[in-house]
């Protein structure tokens, strides 16, 4: 099995690893780098549990080859908090009961972050569209939608 070097920035930190050529970004993050905030839910591109932000774009790490991410900047939920200070989305999910089993949460937060980075004041419809590739089997989505809208409001207050 050929191992190839891959170098990228993960949550602001330089990472360099040898991965199997053809290995997914999901595997590289979880098994090589140890960022297990990225979850393997379906590995078919259906559930969104593995969603990460690559160079500002939401992507599914289960269908992305690690080798193709050389030189990219990757963000995951595991790197979102600054020490004990939570990102507004994390705070809103926590306080708004937007998690239940927690398995979809990191991917859901990444999908929401990709939205808010582009569109800081989204409509409810925008939010529903932004998380339409993420499956949550517990909450029924409503608390998640409300949490994302709350995070957007909190952002606008802190910006004002």
């Amino acid at each position: 099995m050929t191992k190839v070097p891959v170098q990228f920035v993960l949550n602001g930190e330089e990472k360099a690893e040898f991965v199997e050529s053809g290995a997914t970004l999901l595997r590289a993050l979880r098994e090589k780098i140890g960022d297990t905030s990225v979850k393997a839910g379906c590995q078919q591109g259906t559930c969104g549990s593995c969603a990460v932000v690559v160079d500002g774009e939401l992507r599914l790490s289960c269908l992305t080859l690690a080798e193709r991410c050389g030189g990219c900047s990757i963000e995951t939920t595991g790197g979102l908090a600054h020490g004990e200070v939570l990102h507004p989305l994390q705070r809103a999910f926590n306080e708004g009961f937007a998690t239940q089993c927690g398995f979809c949460t990191p991917g859901m937060i990444m999908a929401a972050k990709a939205l808010l980075d582009r569109n800081p004041q989204p409509s409810r419809e925008d939010v529903v569209e932004a998380i339409s590739g993420n499956i949550c089997r517990c909450t029924g989505y409503e608390p998640i939608i409300q949490a994302i809208l709350a995070a957007a409001r909190a952002n606008s207050l802190s910006a004002a």
């Binding site: 099995m1 050529s21 992305t64 339409s132």
Partner: protein, 267 residues
Amino acid sequence: MGLALKTYPTLTAAGEALAAQATARYIGGGTLVVRDANEGDLRFDTYVSASDPELSAIAVTDGQATIGAGVTMAGIVREPALGFLAPAAKAVGGPAIRNMATVGGNLFAPTPYGDFTVALVALDASLDIEGAAVPVTDFLTGRETIYARALVRAVSFRLPAEGSFRFAKVSRIRPKGLSIVTIAAVVEERSGAITSARIAYGCMADRPIRAPAVERALIGKARTKDGIAAALAVATEGTSPPTDAIASAWYRSEVLPVHLGRLLLSP
């Protein structure tokens, strides 16, 4: 054996590598082929990709659009000159999938996927396969045989007249869900009568198809409830819809005329 990725600077070089190795598969956005690998498809052990920037180019000039096969659905949505196609590109997956899935890949997406290709069929698109111009319907007919390992460089089509393109994807879950039926239409009218019509269906066969009986029945008619009645009466002609977890063949046949009627009559 593990999987390997081999990247070539040009599509031609990638094509040669693909031809030389039966266990290689081309990877575009990865949403089909990596999924297969993850599901344990043992028929291939090598991904072949091309880094040719031409593959992600979009050109719209003189009423003709040419879209590189590597352009993503998100890339289509972002292109102002292709605004009419945005609903078809948005019909594919969620935001993450749209940032990855390509126009070329969508051509190969098996039913119930491949919503964007339904639009290409209605647009009567032509594919650039190794320099040859192949009508999209010919490609689809030979998709699992003569074109199974074809490398598509680009798709091109004449821009439809303003307001003549219509698209609808019907699914059980909003805003995202697998298709029950997808319909794309290019319907041109003059003086209150339909002068030309191209109608394409997704999920009404094992691949996107045209609906020639509907097209014939629309010519010369007004785009009104009465005018399209004859076309709706033959809506299912030539179809052989699948039964899957989303809908039965019976259900698809029952709802097709309803959705076709709504699409044709929408303002």
